[in-house]
Amino acid sequence: MAQKQQTANSEPEPVIKITHLSKSFGNIEALLNVSLEIYAGEILAIVGDNGAGKSTLSKLLSGALTPDNGQIMVGDKSYSSMTPGKAISLGISTVYQDLALVDCRDVVSNIFLGREPVYAGFLVDKRRMQKEAAQVLQDLQINIPSLHTPVGLLSGGQRQGVAVARAVFQGGKVIIFDEPTAAMGLQESAKVIKLLLKLREGGLAVVVISHNLHQVFKISDRICVMRHGQVAAICETKYSSPKEIVGLIMGAAAGV
């Protein structure tokens, strides 16, 4: 699908272009000189072993962390660091691996966290929030018993569902999913997969971090393999194989 758009557009511009991004925690180099381009209308999968730096990369894009070095270019503007507010206003939404939910608050408050609609200038519009939250969850076919349950009491998969709903509801040009289905059952994962495909169809850039290669091969257009904080390879999914990717994850020679 990404291919089609490229031919139509002759020179496709990436929505996000990362150059030489680095981040260390103390003497752990979590991310080292990473460059990557993300295009509209594609699903880019990021794979790699535990601790490879996938979540760190996603947090640098979403502004949750600030890079030590490097540039993030969104559209035609270049940034040497992001803040969460800036990333969101640039149209980058994120489902964090830790979900970033407020456990003691209910589903509605979590879906609207930070973007509560108000009426009369300062009163939170609870009725509207309730209605829209119910609508989003229904559209995404995410089953939550009650919108007024504190999310801390939901199951792992339901919590992921709330986090996904929040990011999708927030919308934007780029949505990053950090292991969005890790705690989900088969049915729920299938729904999220369908959602990712739908988002791509809508022309969004979708980044999905996953350990599930079967899933990755089923839905992605490109696969970025990370290893020890670096990009080991970027492969076109249709010209690659799970075997090759596994080899790259484990540290075989890059095959690009």
Binding site: S62, G63, A64, T83, P84, G85, K86, A87, I88, S89, T94, Y96, A100, L101, V102, D103, C104, R105, S109, L113, G114, R115, E116, V118, F122, L123, V124, K126, G152, L153
Partner: protein, 312 residues
């Protein structure tokens, strides 16, 4: 806003206490006595509501008692320097807001521990109050000032009306505004709030300013009521306020809280003190009784929370 178990329990305890006391003493149920209870509880309500906002964020403000004293002293000095009553009151409230701002800036910008910061500002505010007065209470104020402590508005008085007003405002802000939502989110998961791009540090700052201002309003009430600005006034206020907030079902860990619960707890404490006095029980037993009630309340609320999480 649905009442939780803590508030239902608290309501039950309130009813039982009232029932027992009205059986024990015919004087208890008179309007004069109730006005007295409301009058005595008003001060605690005012301060405890500011404290509720801080505790809901998962923090604590130990400086409220000192702030009450400092703001009272500021008002007194201003009036004795010939300033108008209204100006003097505003100056005193500004002093409270200033301490709140210092607390808020130190805690939100420098990421310091609220307990330690407010322990420090508690001593600083008290020290400044003592320095300004040289340790000697200032007394004798214009009638327009004394009115704030013991004037009459219908059957009620300004402190009670202030307490009611602050309760309504507090409940509105906590349950219906972004500030309230973010106060709860700060206590529940500050990092999650930060990642939404909300100016979480600013909201945190505002909450300490609110707590400073309510403490200063408490200072106005105490000073006006006694017609004296006492630099040592308000010691232990912080403990009473914290006790009332926790007794009211607000979680010390933050993220959950109730203004109505806080007010009910303030009333319970007020009724108990009043009842024990009517029954001529010596004040050291009062201290003991109230201490035990607070411990029981905390144990009950901890068990309740644990159950709520485990029952799922």
């Amino acid at each position: 806003m649905k009442p939780n178990i803590a508030q239902l329990l608290l309501g039950l305890v309130l009813c039982i206490t009232v029932l027992l006391l009205s059986i024990a003493s015919p004087f208890f149920m008179t309007w004069d006595n109730w006005r007295n209870i409301l009058d005595q509880s008003a001060l605690l309500v005012i301060i405890a509501i500011g404290m509720t906002f801080v505790i809901v964020t998962g923090a604590i403000d130990l400086s409220v008692g000192s702030v009450a004293a400092l703001s009272g002293v500021c008002m007194a000095v201003a009036m004795h320097a010939g300033m108008a009553v209204a100006t003097a009151i505003l100056l005193g409230l500004a002093a409270g807001a200033l301490v709140g701002t210092s607390n808020g800036l130190l805690i939100s910008r420098l990421n310091l521990n609220p307990f330690i910061v407010t322990l420090g500002t508690m001593a600083v505010a008290r020290g400044v109050a003592l320095i300004i007065t040289k340790g000697i209470p200032i007394y004798g104020f214009p009638a327009a000032f004394i009115w704030w402590g013991s004037g009459h508005i219908g059957a009620l008085n300004p402190p009670i009306l202030l307490a009611i007003l602050i309760t309504l405002l507090g409940a509105l802000v906590l349950n219906q505004t972004k500030l309230g939502y973010y106060a709860l989110a700060l206590g529940g998961n500050e990092e999650a709030l930060r990642r939404t791009g909300v100016a979480h540090q600013t909201y945190k700052l505002i909450i300490y300013v609110i707590c400073g201002i309510t403490a200063a309003i408490g200072g106005l009430v105490v000073t006006a009521r006694l017609n004296t600005a006492e630099p040592l006034a308000g010691s232990m206020f912080e403990l009473d306020a914290i006790a009332a907030v926790v007794l009211g079902g607000t979680d010390m860990k933050g993220g959950r809280g109730s203004i109505i619960g806080t007010v009910m707890a303030c009333l319970l404490l007020g009724i108990l003190r009043n009842g024990l006095t009517i029954l001529s029980i010596p004040s050291y037993y009062q201290q003991l009784t109230i201490g035990i009630i607070i411990l029981v309340a905390i144990i009950v609320s901890e068990l309740r929370l644990k159950n709520a999480w485990e029952n799922d």
